[in-house]
């Protein structure tokens, strides 16, 4: 009986530590380290997760992370499965037609990845006749198809970045085009990524890649948008943002 009571108290303890107000539910697809990923014990980790937690503590609300596939994120937000998307979601014109965004969280560059010493450059001339892997539905696919696809470059969309990297390693692809940080974490820093590196310069295209990533919000939730933007301003000022960013990146990712 005693054990049972202790068990009940343990089960209830999260209820007691709940902060004031409703919990803030973030939609996240934890397959994108170092922004969001799952640890072996099942807990979430990453830059977005820590950023979200610090925003929640500024807002004095409890964070609840709802896992959702990336390509269904916008419809799930509209369907009220969560209140906001915090999952490395790039701010684009197409998405802005459907949902609202917070101020920019961070801006990471796009780069080409190829075997070390490859002379490839991220231009149509250099890539003509080559096979370039991109993730389906990403801004990188849009860029690669528009800038290179029509000029004799074979752009191959993949269901996931894992499949892209394994085909880059086994030689089906000449290069992959992706977010520089995602590639660095998902491939270059791992043993299997030995012998691969960035090829050419950083690719910039504000009209396709947008100003960076933001928190996706329902257009009707203007009060929440205001609160989140203020909290974001505060964590920039009190140094929390820089402290978290230094933990994950060795260069500046804060928006201009």
């Amino acid at each position: 009986m005693k054990r049972c009571l202790i068990g009940l108290m343990l089960a209830a303890s999260p209820l007691i530590t709940w902060g004031a107000g409703e919990p803030l539910r973030f939609g996240v697809d934890p397959t994108y380290p170092p922004f969001e990923s799952k640890q072996p014990d099942g807990s979430l980790t990453g830059f977005d997760i820590e950023l979200g937690e610090s925003l929640c503590s500024e807002l004095q609300r409890r964070c609840v992370w709802v896992e959702n596939a990336f390509d269904g994120m916008v419809s799930a937000l509209k369907g009220k499965k969560f209140d906001a998307i915090l999952s490395a979601l790039s701010i684009t014109e197409a998405r802005k037609a459907e949902i609202a965004f917070s101020n920019t969280l961070y801006d990471t560059p796009a780069r080409l990845v190829a075997p070390e010493g490859s002379p490839l450059q991220p231009t149509a001339e250099s890539l003509r006749g080559k096979r370039i892997g991109v993730q389906q539905g990403s801004v990188f696919e849009v860029y690669a198809k528009r800038m290179w696809g029509l000029k004799g470059v074979e752009v191959v969309p993949y269901q996931s970045s894992d499949l892209t990297y394994s085909d880059l390693i086994n030689g089906r692809l000449d290069a992959a085009f992706d977010d520089a940080i995602a590639v660095s974490e998902g491939l270059l820093k791992k043993p299997m990524g030995k012998g691969f590196g960035y090829a050419g310069e950083v690719v910039k295209s504000p009209e396709i890649f947008g100003p960076g990533t933001g928190i996706g919000l329902r257009k009707s939730d203007t009060a929440l948008a205001g609160e989140i933007n203020q909290a974001l301003e505060r964590i920039h000022q009190n140094g929390t943002y820089d402290r978290i960013a230094r933990k994950y990146f060795d260069f500046d990712i804060s928006p201009k």
Binding site: G137, G149, L150, V156
Partner: protein, 233 residues
Amino acid sequence: MIEILKEFGPNFLWSDGYRWSGLAVTLWLLVTSAVLGLCAAIPLALVRTYGNRWLALPVQLYTLVFRGTPLFVQLLIIYSGLASLSLIRESPSLWWFFRDGMHCVILALALNTCAYTIEILAGVLRTTPRGEIEAALALGMTRSQVFILVLIPSMLRRALPAYSNEVIFVLHATAIAFTATVPDILKIAADVNAATFKTFQAYGIAALLYMVLACALVGVFRLAERRLLAYQR
């Protein structure tokens, strides 16, 4: 809905500018894998039913393995699994074949439908009316004439209703092609979803397209059955 059809209709139906359309890719996958699978299944079904034990056993084992494992797993083994073996990568002809996602998908679909078709045909062979064979022998046909002129045509006719189902299953199975980077109807639907976030419409259009194709297949097979199985009516 109308805007989606205006913007993405070409990608679904004909060409998106520099590649084949989703419909063309799906149809190509269906036709090649069904034809290859059927051509291989006819002799193998005869071997499975009439061959001696040492010939029939490997065929039985093959149908057991390919009917006993999910097609998706078979595709992953053929596309990703084999490509990770240096044996395959270092042999130029094998690598030429397995490097291309399209080859891998067609191989997986053909092997899978072949296994099911063998069992359909073998089942039909077991129920061949004895009278058909006796009549042929009574006319003085040789063993091979009986096979070619009586048994095989009779098998193919009577297998039609069950085989039409199998072809529709192959059509539905082509939806796994994008795992191996082959851009079929479903990949276009995923593109529409990514571009417009109209999930219901995006996948709804894909479902309608598959349904129209399946209905067309049913119609073609019904016509064929009416002609080829007329003697049964």
